[in-house]
């Protein structure tokens, strides 16, 4: 029994992945679709219930490349330390002008900034999400794009995000949902 216990401990230790804290919690809607999200190579756009947009991509090297590309687009520069910091963070929802402060802040400071932020700007006058998507598409063209929206996110924001994706020639993407049983498939309710 003890052997078994240790076997299980090893198993769980090896399969557990610790991921950094997500700055937003999102209550995603459920669907009957059962296509799993790929484990690697995902560009994730999170939209929370207040319509704030956050951006995330996996792979530390890719994150650094994307940040460098963005730095070029916005004519700001990040030093090695800031890039390193960015590569290990989770989703970011900061306008570019606050990015440096965000990276310089400590854990507590970042939490506060995440609460206060309005997300990545998406209005047509200051469309920074387009820059993000553009940078990500350029540096990681093979990555899948996934949109994780909150149940109560409003339609104009969702439409705007989809339209930004379309502008960047990202016409195929996935919506992240929870799995629920299919009512119509197993026992059709029509007679």
């Amino acid at each position: 029994m003890v052997d078994l216990a240790f076997l299980l401990v090893t198993f769980f230790m090896l399969t557990t992945k610790f991921r950094p804290d997500e700055p937003v919690s999102v209550d995603q809607p459920s669907s009957v679709s059962d296509i799993p999200l790929p484990e690697k190579g995902v560009i994730l756009l999170t939209i929370d219930k207040d319509g704030r947009v956050f951006f995330n991509v996996d792979g530390q090297q890719k994150r650094i490349e994307i940040l460098e590309n963005l730095a070029d687009q916005f004519k700001i520069s990040f030093d090695e330390k800031e890039k390193k910091r960015f590569s290990v963070l989770a989703s970011v929802g900061m306008p570019m002008n606050q990015m440096k402060d965000y990276l310089a802040a400590d854990e507590e400071g970042r939490k506060k900034m995440n609460l206060a932020t309005k997300g990545i700007p998406i209005d047509s006058t200051d469309n920074q999400l387009a820059n993000w998507v553009n940078a990500a598409r350029r540096m990681a063209p093979m990555f899948h794009i996934a949109v994780k929206g909150d149940m109560d996110a409003d339609i104009p924001t969702i439409k705007r995000v989809i339209s930004i994706l379309q502008d960047n020639k990202a016409n195929r993407f996935a919506l992240i949902t929870n799995l629920e049983g299919a009512p119509g498939e197993e026992k059709p309710s029509v007679k």
Binding site: V9, K148, M151, A153, I155, A174, L179, P183, G184
Partner: protein, 212 residues
């Protein structure tokens, strides 16, 4: 657990020493086992096995001129307008400002009198019955019972049927993202192969207003 056996005092000194050596090789393992189980519970509780699921959608390339837009047959086009409080307004045919189409109200319930699920199943019977046939053939062993094979067959059925309905999903600004996902989900359940997310026109905004 280690135990030291008590010996009677009668034995000789030589004997006593030998016995003591033998028993001291046992180690008390209780704390280690405790720790092992503690770790086990910790990892069991922190692990999540459920991978997030996704719903694939493909949007058309943005068209720049009127001519590039795909035209759909008016008789097959079903417009589904989503609006606040989880309500649905649907109609068939073209959206013509001079001759407003007859609209119907619906909701997201599965079984209710106004269930959009029933409406879609009814309108899409042509395709849905064929999809059911695929399921039947799987049961009878005509099609290999493999998930991707079944999916491929179903996709073929959906593509081949040119007279199936085309659903135009038009979410209102007051609708929620949840409604959009629900209706996309309903497309999947009812086997609607051709659907698109479209913007509302001015006359349809009027329709929504009038329906309230």
């Amino acid at each position: 657990m280690s135990e030291v056996q008590q010996q009677g005092g009668q034995e000789s000194g030589k004997h006593k020493k030998l016995r003591a050596k033998k028993t001291s090789t046992h180690i008390d393992m209780t704390p280690m086992v405790d720790l092992a189980f503690l770790l086990l519970t910790f990892f069991i509780l922190t692990t999540t096995f459920s991978k997030p699921k996704t719903m694939d959608i493909t949007m058309p390339v943005k068209e720049h001129t009127e001519e590039e837009k795909t035209k759909v047959k008016a008789s097959l086009a079903m417009s589904v307008l989503l609006t606040e409080n989880d309500r649905i307004i649907w109609y068939f045919g073209q959206d013509d400002p001079t001759k407003p189409p007859e609209t119907n109200l619906a909701d997201f319930s599965l079984d209710g009198p106004k269930s959009i699920h029933k409406v879609l199943l009814d309108k899409n019977k042509l395709v849905y019955d064929q999809l059911k046939q695929v399921d039947d053939s799987v049961k009878r062993g005509l099609i290999v019972d493999q998930e991707d094979t079944i999916k491929r067959h179903k996709a073929l059925v959906k593509q081949a049927e040119k007279n199936g309905i085309i659903v135009l999903i038009k979410p209102d600004d007051k609708a929620k993202y949840k409604n959009l996902v629900d209706i996309l989900d309903e497309m999947l359940i009812c086997g609607v192969g051709r659907y698109a997310i479209v913007d509302l026109s001015e006359s349809e905004k009027e329709l929504i207003k009038n329906a309230q």
